[in-house]
């Protein structure tokens, strides 16, 4: 595991992954102590790739993303884990040092651009600000780059848009502005948390297309947090599925959707309503995620799993390779525990 970040690509001498998080634990205070909402998640983002982090409400996907960029809410704490950006270990950096990296080498786009953008500043000011702060560009240069960026992102009437305030733009335009802001300093890594969930489908399609174009053009590494498997299918290279605070399966998008291994992934893929066929009744996943945090031992999905056997309720499975670059944590489908382990 530790070696992952050190493997360098022979051609460039750069590490193969733009960002790796290993064994990330995020905890929140509860009456009786601390509760871990992310329980040792590891994720690796490759250059020029979009990795979709998929999961339902409360699976820990947003907290994982926030931990990677050092933006956890003040009550939360990250207890363990190593985060490597390029060659640099950023897991021990203080808030000052992190803010020098954030926006320059690693950026984030949020779900709701209306709350992420400052309502009293113009779009131009906000897109130019990180370039002045991080790159020391003067306003003329920053302005020219902001124009170029918004133009690349398909913003109509760029000059006028730069002088406008967030409330004067539509949802899709605001999300473009937010992406421009995030890409202003040409970062290595972009984290996007449900960036298109608040948008209409036709606008969503445009934004996803733009995101893909930027990834291909800049070799950007993207973590796309989403609950929508359709969105993942459309733009991602890899899918990581999160449940109960850990990653239960991860692999190339096609394998994950056509040959899911973990019963939770199978369930999720099966219950998505399709446009081309009507199923009566629709396949469902029984139960809900409620109570997942009260499970003390074993696989967190076991209470909802039709394939669960005795061991599932006693020991939590690790991720095991089931196909090349495809791992799953399931005693039943990914292999029984070996005696030498754990």
């Amino acid at each position: 595991m530790k070696a992952a970040a050190a493997i360098a690509s022979p051609a460039t001498g750069l590490p193969a992954a733009a960002l790796t998080g290993e064994g990330i634990v995020v905890e929140f205070p509860i009456a009786t102590g601390w509760r871990a909402v992310v329980r040792g998640a590891s994720i690796s983002l490759a250059r020029g790739e979009i990795t979709a982090l998929v999961g339902e409400t409360g699976s820990g996907k947003t907290m994982t993303a926030l931990a990677l960029i050092g933006l956890l809410p003040p009550t939360a704490r990250r207890r363990a884990g190593r985060i490597t950006l390029g060659r640099d270990d950023i897991s021990r950096l203080g808030s000052q040092a992190m803010s020098r990296i954030r926006g320059r080498r690693i950026s984030m786009v949020f779900q709701d651009p209306m709350t992420a953008l400052n309502p009293v500043l113009t779009i131009g000011f906000q897109v130019e600000e990180p370039m002045r702060a991080h790159l020391g560009l003067d306003s003329r240069l920053a302005h020219a780059r902001a124009r170029e960026l918004l133009d690349q992102l398909g913003m109509p009437d760029v000059d006028r848009t730069l002088r406008r305030y967030p409330h004067e733009l539509s949802g899709g335009m605001r999300q473009r502005a937010l992406i421009a802001l995030a890409l202003a300093c040409d970062p290595e890594v972009l984290l996007a948390d449900e960036p298109t969930t608040a948008l209409d489908v036709t606008v969503q399609a445009q934004i996803l297309e733009l995101l893909r174009e930027q990834v291909d053009r800049r070799g950007l590494a993207v973590l796309l947090v989403t609950h929508d498997l359709g969105v993942a299918a459309q733009v991602a290279d890899r899918i990581e599925v999160m449940y109960g605070g850990t990653i239960v399966e991860g692999g190339p998008v096609e394998q994950m959707l056509r040959r899911p291994n973990h019963p939770y992934t199978r369930g999720l893929v099966g219950c998505v309503p399709r446009v081309d066929t009507r199923l009566r009744p629709l396949p469902t996943l029984p139960g809900s995620v409620q109570g997942v945090w009260d499970i003390a031992a074993g696989c967190r999905f076991a209470p909802r799993c039709a394939s669960a056997i005795d061991i599932c309720r006693i020991r939590e499975p690790d991720l095991r390779a089931v196909e090349p670059a495809h791992e799953s944590a399931c005693w039943v489908y990914a292999g029984p525990p070996s005696e030498s382990r754990g």
Partner: protein, 277 residues
């Protein structure tokens, strides 16, 4: 058989005032000449993006949006001209399930009193009969009777939506308007709620107007579909026909934009490079 709902040439307009002392007054036409009907026990899927007017159509049917022109008949009764007792009858006969169960349920009320409210106010039920009906409704939506004493915050999103559905069917309406009832729910719960709505329809003979921007969900539940764009219906018909072979450009755009897990992106590296001779 007469249709449960008949909408003809419906126009919904909202008046606004802006500027100092409201000097700029005018009106916005949200629905511009919409006609459709829904046969008893059937589901019409109303599809469109934000601003298409789909919610305004729903609100007009329930008598809570300004009808500027056109006519809406609910089991033969004219919604736009209804007064007094007729209006009460319409309230009993047409109910709504909203998108956000978190905001559509009163956090201070128990689940039991939430479901009892329409029974008390619209049917005048009380005492033993009321309690029996409430537990019967909970059972219908797949919740145990003890949920009656709980409050919304003790329930999951899917359970809350079940409560909202129980409240909507409490007065035995003929029409239930479902406004994006599954879009705030997790994928695994969405399918449960769709199955519940389908089961209730066949058991109780309900007619649904199902509003959604999710064509996959519409495909599962609707018999007919109407695609709204800028306040007008651009295409309507049987759901398999419209989604299988759309005739209108906008419907095609919409269909192409819907992310599908069956349309997996072909990675760049997998596309064989063109070798020039």
């Amino acid at each position: 058989m007469t249709a449960t709902v008949e909408v003809s040439d419906l126009v919904v307009e909202y008046r606004y005032r802006s500027g100092p002392l409201g000097v700029n007054a005018g009106s916005v036409r949200a629905v511009d000449g919409v006609s459709f009907d829904i046969a008893p026990g059937r589901t019409l899927g109303l599809v469109g993006e934000s601003g298409s007017g789909k919610t305004s159509v729903a609100r007009a049917i329930l008598g809570i949006a300004p009808i500027a022109a056109g006519r809406i008949l609910l089991r033969g009764r004219d919604v736009s001209t209804a007064t007094g007792s007729e209006r009460r009858q319409i309230r009993r006969d047409a109910q709504m399930v909203f998108q956000q169960p978190t905001t559509s349920l009163d956090p201070r009320m128990t689940i039991g009193s939430t479901i009892a409210e329409p029974l008390v106010h619209l049917l005048g039920m009380r005492g033993r009969a009321l309690a029996t009906r409430v537990s019967e409704l909970l059972h219908l939506v797949g919740l145990e009777a003890e949920y009656a004493t709980r409050r919304p915050r003790q329930l999951s999103g899917g359970q809350r939506q079940r409560v909202a559905i129980a409240r909507a069917i409490a007065t035995s309406p003929s029409l239930v308007v479902c406004d994006e009832p599954t879009s705030s729910l997790d994928v695994s719960v969405q399918a449960q709620i769709i199955n519940l709505l389908v089961r209730l329809q066949s058991e109780l003979g309900l007619t649904y107007l199902f509003i959604s921007h999710d064509l996959g969900t519409i495909r599962q539940i609707a018999d007919t579909i109407a695609v709204l764009h800028l306040g007008r219906i651009v295409e309507a018909g049987a759901v398999d026909k419209v989604l299988g072979a759309p005739a209108d450009d906008y419907t095609r755009t919409l269909l192409a934009a819907v992310p599908s897990i069956d349309r997996i992106r072909v990675p760049r590296a997998a596309i064989a490079p063109v070798v020039s001779a």
